[in-house]
């Protein structure tokens, strides 16, 4: 499977372990975009982990919109371990979306601060 080198994968035992704090932290740490990939609906080993992850992602998107950061930088997808092709597509889709949105606005600020120092 080939996919764009723009992503860094963080493995989790189940998408249901994702937490609002972790998602916000990724953006504070400079991620330009983040997507959470959960199993196909009905295929979660813990039954409802992917449904819960999807709801949490939706909530964090709402927060990001509310604070003006933009929820578009975050998304949730369902896909199975056998769908390498689909994974590559999602990576491409997210990469394109993020390229359009530009870099994480917090990075721009950090660079400016760094440049001035």
């Amino acid at each position: 499977m080939q996919y764009a080198p723009t992503v860094r994968i963080v493995e989790m035992p189940c998408s249901g372990t994702i937490d609002h704090r972790v998602l916000l932290q990724t953006f504070e740490d400079g991620a330009d975009g983040v997507f959470v990939a959960g199993c196909m609906e009905g295929d979660c080993h813990f039954l409802k982990g992917n449904f819960r992850a999807k709801k949490r992602v939706r909530q964090v998107k709402k927060i990001l919109d509310e604070i003006g950061f933009g929820g578009d930088r975050l998304d949730f997808f369902n896909l199975s371990a056998a769908q390498g092709q689909r994974f590559a597509e999602i990576v491409k889709e997210m990469t394109e979306r993020v390229l359009q949105l530009g870099p994480n606005p917090l990075n721009k600020k950090a660079k400016k601060e760094g440049g001035a120092a």
Partner: protein, 223 residues
């Protein structure tokens, strides 16, 4: 327990717009249980505020702490060291907690992050309902365990109004008529005759009448 909900982040940010460093204090009591102001919510709010401020090129430093309860002086005192160099304290407790913090930290700008809504409980995870109006003299033994003061939209104490239709209150088809519930339950218990007993008007002097209320227990006082 007390049910509260977080204010919009923008509103909270506006309250501390002139601050550089703030302490956000969660509460491990009621607001942890109703998922509005516990440890996790405190971190999420801190992160949201930091992101917002960084985007405005005006970074905010945050310190977070979750008190066992904000409505007990001993737990509030535990915050002394954390408050010294902050410009403001954001409380994620109910209105009681905010006031305890304001009382102790007299020279600090203390602001509420939550709107305190009501006292009640959950029906399922993520859904809470108001159950008690804090009337000061409970009458649930006369109403089948269903509170007419808060669950009847008009707080009627002597049976349903004319707006009770098919078990629903006239304000909304989603709201049960409390008096229908009371009647049905008393009937099922074989206690309808209790509803016929004469009741004098409720003594509202035990409620909000006469200013803030107090409860005293001499026997448990330490000094």
């Amino acid at each position: 327990m007390i049910i509260a909900q977080q204010k919009p982040v923008k509103d909270i940010a506006a309250m501390i717009s002139d601050c550089k460093k703030v302490l956000l204090v969660g509460c491990a009591g009621c607001v942890t249980v109703c998922l509005a102001g516990g440890e996790k919510e405190t971190e999420v709010l801190a992160s949201s505020l930091r992101i917002m401020r960084k985007m405005e090129d005006n970074p905010l430093e945050t310190v977070t702490y979750t008190a066992t309860r904000q409505c007990d002086p001993e737990y509030v005192a535990a915050l002394d060291n954390l408050t010294r160099d902050v410009d403001a304290i954001v409380s994620l407790a109910c209105g009681v907690g905010v006031q305890y913090l304001a009382e102790r930290f007299t020279d600090k700008w203390v602001v509420p992050a939550l709107d305190t809504k009501f006292i009640g409980g959950s029906t399922v995870h993520g859904n809470w309902e108001e159950k008690c109006g804090l009337c000061g003299e409970c009458i649930l033994h006369r109403t089948g365990g269903i509170c007419p003061i808060i669950r009847c939209s008009k707080s009627i104490l002597n049976g349903p109004c004319g707006g009770s239709q098919y078990g629903k209150c006239e304000i909304s088809k989603d709201v049960d008529c409390a008096w229908q519930l009371i009647y049905d339950r008393m009937k099922a218990l074989g206690k309808l005759d209790k509803l016929m007993e004469f009741q004098p008007p409720k003594d509202w002097s035990k409620s909000r009448d006469g200013g803030p209320r107090k409860a005293v227990r001499e026997d448990v006082m330490i000094d």
